[in-house]
């Protein structure tokens, strides 16, 4: 085995890639070779570190020095100064809002130190293309353990952990497994839902890209527990680039006998196939996803029966989100009590969030459930850029709720956010500063829903269109109080009568903004003006 005195880990996550991390890596490899250090220093591509706003990001070990915004022109200096002479290149270190002198290692940066990484524990630390590095970090140990347990014991362990689905609905995972395990039928299926379409969410993609084996291992354990011999990962059609990495990981797992027949000589056989969608938000809904996998239009089915009894091709099927499955190996390895020691009593564990919008450290974070919104926005997110003021945070993606500054101290967990009138949802967290208009952004959410409504049921198909028109009317300063009443009635109908969560939650952003930002509605409707100066008529007057 070869030994290297230094390892340079370059982020190959999707955000850093688009900021040019590939050319940085190529330049680095070239320069290291040119300076004759290629026997001493190794360059590794790794998954997302999370600090996407400061990309391309790299970390140099053993010092754990964290460089940001590296361009190919910086490479020569990094090799010459840091790798050859051991001098840190100060100008490339992370500079947070509250600059701390001497911050060098990535663990000292607030953005990382305030996080708790369970799901992302390997992201940015290992080479995701190498199954050996995953195994070296206790990978597949949990699968070995699970296969020595009875399936019902595995389910009990997950039930005891209190893990709830991380895709948005928050249903107890152990219970879902139990239903599928108890369903009658010889053939059962496990599906990993990687149809990540909630606007502002990219966690599943980065988990799959940064640590694909954690999901594969989680799937194998789940399949054993519910009695499935076949699993599928359903990807969004737009995620073509991540599919390659997963295909490679699956091949490696098969070659090591971690997928396939008679795994660990236990008599348990399991394999995974990749399925690719073609662009439809509604396919994130599990019955729509199943229809899509069968080669049909991705329209949701009537429930009940639930997939646990009648799912893919009519067989009992368990559908779990990527992040949910990535939690499983740690739960099996470290136990339910350990998992319950993180987060809140009703929502144990961590949650991965994607920070977007007007925030300094846009990117990917993992924090214990129950951390406050304020801590996420200011301590980890680094606050609002350009000296502007916080106006609104939308939690849970486009179908989530919009919270004002007064609610910044709300704990971020499934129940607390629901009580506050919002939702945890998929973990999307969009921050908006005071230069934006609430009406204008709500119109943007509704534009999304009227486009993505699958058209199957009337309350959603007609409702999303009419809601858009009504809010558009407000933005054009043509609405009256009557229209507000109409919005309320329409919203109630959609919530009660829509077939799936898409139509049921589409009115959510309208209702929460009407509740928390009544003055913005009043300004547009009563005074005919847009306080932020964004809406059409207002800008014409101005």
């Amino acid at each position: 085995m070869e030994f290297f005195r230094s390892h340079v880990l370059v982020c190959s996550g999707v955000n850093c890639s688009f900021r040019g991390s590939r050319s940085v890596r190529a330049a680095l490899v070239e320069e290291i070779r040119a300076q004759g250090l290629d026997k001493e220093v190794r360059v590794i591509e790794t998954g997302c570190f999370g600090l996407c706003e400061a990309g391309p990001v790299m970390v140099i070990y053993p010092e754990a020095v964290h460089y940001c915004r590296v361009v190919p022109d910086d490479v020569k200096e990094i090799v010459e100064e840091h790798l050859r002479k051991g001098r840190i290149v100060d100008r490339l270190l992370y500079k947070g809002e509250a600059q701390v002198k001497g911050v060098q290692t990535w663990r000292q940066i607030d953005f990382y130190s305030r996080q708790k990484r369970v799901v992302l524990r390997n992201c940015g630390l290992i080479d995701p293309d190498s199954i050996d590095e995953y195994i070296a970090r206790e990978g597949y140990e949990a699968l070995g353990r699970a296969l020595r347990m009875q399936p019902m014991e595995v389910i009990q362990a997950v039930k005891d952990s209190g893990l709830r689905g991380r895709g948005g609905a928050g249903f107890p995972t152990g219970l879902k497994w139990d239903f599928t395990a108890r369903a009658a039928g010889d053939q059962k299926y496990l599906i990993c839902n990687a149809d990540e379409g909630e606007p502002g969410t990219f966690k599943d993609r980065l988990i799959l890209e940064g640590d694909p084996h954690s999901v594969i291992e989680g799937m194998a354990i789940a399949a054993y527990a519910i009695g499935a011999s076949k699993g599928f990962i359903y990807f969004r059609g737009e995620y073509k680039l991540s599919i390659d990495r997963l295909t490679h990981a699956l091949e490696q797992a098969r070659a090591y006998g971690l997928l396939g027949k008679n795994i660990f000589d236990s008599g348990f056989s399991f394999d995974i196939e990749i399925k690719v969608g073609a662009g439809a938000y509604v396919c994130g809904e599990e019955t729509a996803l199943i229809n899509s996998m069968e080669g049909k239009r991705g329209e949701p089915r009537f429930k009940p029966p639930y997939p646990a009894s009648v799912g893919l091709w009519g067989k009992p099927t368990c559908v779990n989100n990527v992040e949910t499955l990535a939690n499983i190996p740690s739960i099996i390895r470290q136990g339910a009590d350990w998992f319950r020691s993180i987060g809140t009593a009703k929502c144990p564990g961590t949650k991965v969030f994607t920070l977007t919008g007007n925030i300094n450290n846009a990117g990917l974070i993992e924090v214990p459930m129950g951390i406050t919104l304020r801590e996420v926005v200011y301590d980890i997110g680094g606050g609002i850029p350009h000296g502007r003021a916080f106006k609104m945070a939308q939690t849970g993606g486009t179908s989530g709720g919009c919270l004002p500054e007064a609610l910044l101290d709300v704990p971020m967990d499934i129940d607390s956010l629901a009580t506050a009138g919002s939702a945890l949802g998929s973990g999307a967290l969009m921050i908006m500063d005071d230069s934006h208009c609430i009406i204008d952004v709500v119109k943007c959410f509704l534009q999304f829903f009227r486009h993505e409504s699958c058209g199957q049921c009337t309350p959603c198909r007609e409702g999303t269109q009419r809601l858009y028109e009504l809010v558009d009317k407000i933005s054009r300063m043509e609405a009256t109080e009557k229209d507000v009443e109409l919005i309320r009635r329409l919203a109630r109908t959609m919530e009660d009568a829509s077939l799936c969560a898409l139509g049921q939650t589409a009115p959510f952003p309208v209702l929460t903004t009407m509740r928390f930002f009544p003055e913005e509605y009043e300004a547009h409707i009563v005074h005919g003006m847009c306080p932020a100066g964004v809406c059409a008529a207002a800008s014409q007057i101005a």
Partner: protein, 161 residues
């Protein structure tokens, strides 16, 4: 309207080849349509008829799937499909001005294709690269942190591809 025999014949061989790659089972329809569409970014009537025949699925069903998912198109599209994200994180970081810049640079509106069949402008839902919003995806490549000034540069990068 009847469709010309030559069009049907020319689509037949390619479609049969693609279908035989996956098998005629209906579960493969989405992947098969992805592959059939790969040559010119659109699904012609002749191609849809041949897929229905080869897989023994009613044409109405194939058409239903082809028009349900936003990545397929039954109308001709350009060589480069510029999918501009219109989701909220891109919206509040300036997607509107980027959209206007693309429309101006190409002389077409959103949803249209340039006369030389080179570029098509489409909206897309979130691309999952909100860390570099506003973003667009051109065929398989994503471009982020866009401003109106960078639009021409992005278009030139495509032309030189």
């Amino acid at each position: 309207m009847a469709i010309a025999k030559e069009q049907l014949d020319s689509a037949e061989k390619r479609v049969l080849q693609i279908v035989s790659r996956y098998g005629a089972n209906e579960e493969h329809l989405l992947q098969i349509l992805h592959d059939v569409q790969a040559d010119d970014n659109s699904l012609s009537e002749a191609e849809l008829i041949q897929v229905a025949r080869a897989m023994d699925i009613p044409l109405s069903r194939v058409y239903g799937v082809a028009t349900f998912y936003s990545m397929y198109s039954v109308r001709p599209r350009g060589k480069f499909i510029i999918r501009i994200c219109e989701s909220a994180p891109c919206h509040i970081t300036g997607a509107q001005s980027v959209i206007r810049a693309f429309e101006q640079a190409l002389g077409i509106k959103m949803g249209e294709t340039t006369k030389d069949r080179k570029f098509t402008l489409e909206y897309t839902s979130c691309l999952g690269v909100c860390g570099v919003a506003p973003a667009v995806m051109i065929n398989d490549r994503v471009y982020g942190n866009l401003t109106p000034d960078k639009v021409q540069e992005v278009l030139s990068a495509c032309e030189n591809d």
